[in-house]
Amino acid sequence: MRIEVMISGFGGQGVVLSGAVLSQASVLSNYYAAATYTYGPEARLGSTRSEVVISDEEIDYPKIISPDYWVAMNQMSLNTFSKRYPLDKTIILADSSMIKYFDPVEGKVRVIYKIPATDEAERLGNRLVANMLMLGVFVTVSGIIPLENLKEAIRRMVKPQFIDLNLKAVDRGKEIGESLLKGVKV
């Protein structure tokens, strides 16, 4: 088993942190995991990407060959990476608060789940937890990592004052993920 998860967005959306948290949750679930990151020299708004490979055996190539899951957090990254990878097996989890045009991936991928993650996060009190909300959706839709392990990873890696809010976002993500699996539009 080798599952490749790409998380893309811009600097400031917590793309690197969510890659780190996902790798921790995977290891807590007794998988091997390797998380790598690509970002530019900018502190904010530059193109940012996490590549997380989850496997039941030791991981050789640590980068993505063809994503099984792609958490897309902004329009620019959706446009850019739609051209770079084979996507026929890919399930996209897209932040539809940030992405309005799906033409670059429409018809090319297995499924596109549209989740207004940033708006939902804002309703919870802080748009910055959209990343963890998306991880909540991811673990629910993929079913490969128990939700509790994701929460434990957050407790270990997120600054103490933000843990509760992040856990709330994960719970909301789980609800959304369950609706999506039932075919309910969110």
Binding site: V27, A34, A35, T36, T38, Y61, P62, I65
Partner: protein, 382 residues
């Protein structure tokens, strides 16, 4: 005090710090630079916890001189940087070589030349690690391929530098520095830690650069212990006296610091063989590229091609015998590198015409795609 035995999820830059601390590193001086910054960051937190000292320096020239000084004060010392900083360190590196000062330097390679691609990986400094400082010398450079290697090789690097009284360079790259993956920390008693040999004669009988019979390097005292050593960059004889024109003594000194490394290549060299038993094509790779190469080799095997991997962990001194033996076994050797083709020249030289040697260069700041290496394997067996 140390990271507990067991499995931990760590970034490569974090793992190398924990390995260094267990190896006995108690002084770190550095100047932050992507993608090595996390090493300084973690050192700044961890050093005080183990009774060591962290110093942020004004630049990389000062960083390397500070760790040389600390090493002569008896502390195992380390710095970490990336290409631009490593270039600045070349003068200090030569100083450490001629004074036979054990230090560990981490170069997390990023794309160059110059400031270059600050956040992206490269293997462009592999020749600089061998030849970067002027004059004749030999050096030890290790290339980690995983966060686990960052931990393990930090310990090996200190052990080698203490054994041979020479700088040891850990040639990481951005991917390995930043990758977050499980790292196994063995029980402490299973970890071998080497200490430098100290003089066992009274100060008046001590000859600072004269190895004991059968040894390559002299025991090393620390400043303040009463032993008089002139630690100086001008050429010296066995007594540490400056020799401006004594070419006979100079030749002795240069040959010893060269051969103490090159004649011990069998002991210093570490490598890993995968799928090599019946291989007809070998991929010789190092660092993060070795992981891509392993993927390509497995893919080739799936397609019925007898491919194997030689992962070079020690890059310098170069292990000619390993390559010569490999070349006698296979038809072709593929050398993928994140540069325009550097170690491939050594591989070609050491294979002595017994196998076809092919370079698979990659520049721009990205790992090879496994298919690029697979394509080279396929073209080699065609």
């Amino acid at each position: 005090m140390y990271v507990e035995p067991g499995t931990h999820l760590m970034q490569g830059d974090e793992a190398i710090v924990e390995g260094a601390l267990i190896a006995g590193c108690r002084f770190f001086a550095g100047y932050p630079i992507t993608p090595a910054t996390e090493i300084a960051e973690r050192m700044s937190r961890r050093m005080p916890q183990v009774g060591g000292v962290f110093m942020q320096m004004e630049d990389e020239l000062a960083s390397i001189m500070a760790i040389i000084g600390a090493s002569w004060a008896g502390r195992k010392s380390m710095t970490a940087t990336s290409g631009p900083g490593y270039s600045l360190m070349q003068e200090g590196l030569g100083y450490a070589i001629i004074t036979e000062t054990p230090i560990v330097i981490v170069d997390v390679q990023r794309g160059g030349p110059s400031t270059g691609l600050v956040t992206l990986p490269s293997q462009g400094d592999v020749m600089q690690a061998r030849w970067g400082s002027h004059g004749d010398y030999a050096t030890i450079a290790l290339a980690p391929s995983s966060a686990q290697d960052m931990f393990d090789l930090a310990i090996k690097a200190f052990n080698l530098s203490e054994t041979y009284r020479n700088p040891v360079i850990i040639l990481a790259d951005e991917v390995i520095a930043h990758v977050r993956e499980p790292v196994k920390v063995p029980p402490y008693e299973e970890i071998e830690v080497v200490e430098r040999r100290r003089p066992n004669v009274p100060p008046e009988d001590y000859i600072p650069y004269l190895p004991d019979p059968g040894e390559w390097v002299a025991p090393m005292p620390a400043f303040g212990e009463g032993y008089n050593v002139l630690v100086e960059s001008v050429m010296h004889d066995e007594f540490g006296h400056r020799i401006g024109t004594d070419h006979v003594a100079a030749e002795r000194t240069i040959k010893r610091i060269y051969y103490k490394i090159e004649k011990n290549v069998d002991k210093i060299s570490m490598y890993e063989k995968r799928y090599m038993e019946d291989a007809e094509v070998a991929v010789v790779a190092y660092g993060s590229t070795a992981r891509t190469a392993l993927r390509a080799v497995r893919e080739a095997r799936n397609q019925g091609i007898k491919a194997g991997l030689i992962r070079m962990i020690t890059l310098w001194p170069f292990y000619d015998r390993l390559i010569e033996e490999t070349a006698s076994q296979v038809k072709a050797i593929i050398v993928p590198e994140m540069n325009m083709g550097k170690i491939v020249r050594e591989v070609d030289r050491a294979s002595k015409g017994q196998a076809k040697v092919m370079s698979v260069p990659k520049v721009g700041g990205v790992l090879h795609h496994p298919d690029e290496i697979l394509a080279a394997i396929k073209s080699a067996v065609r």
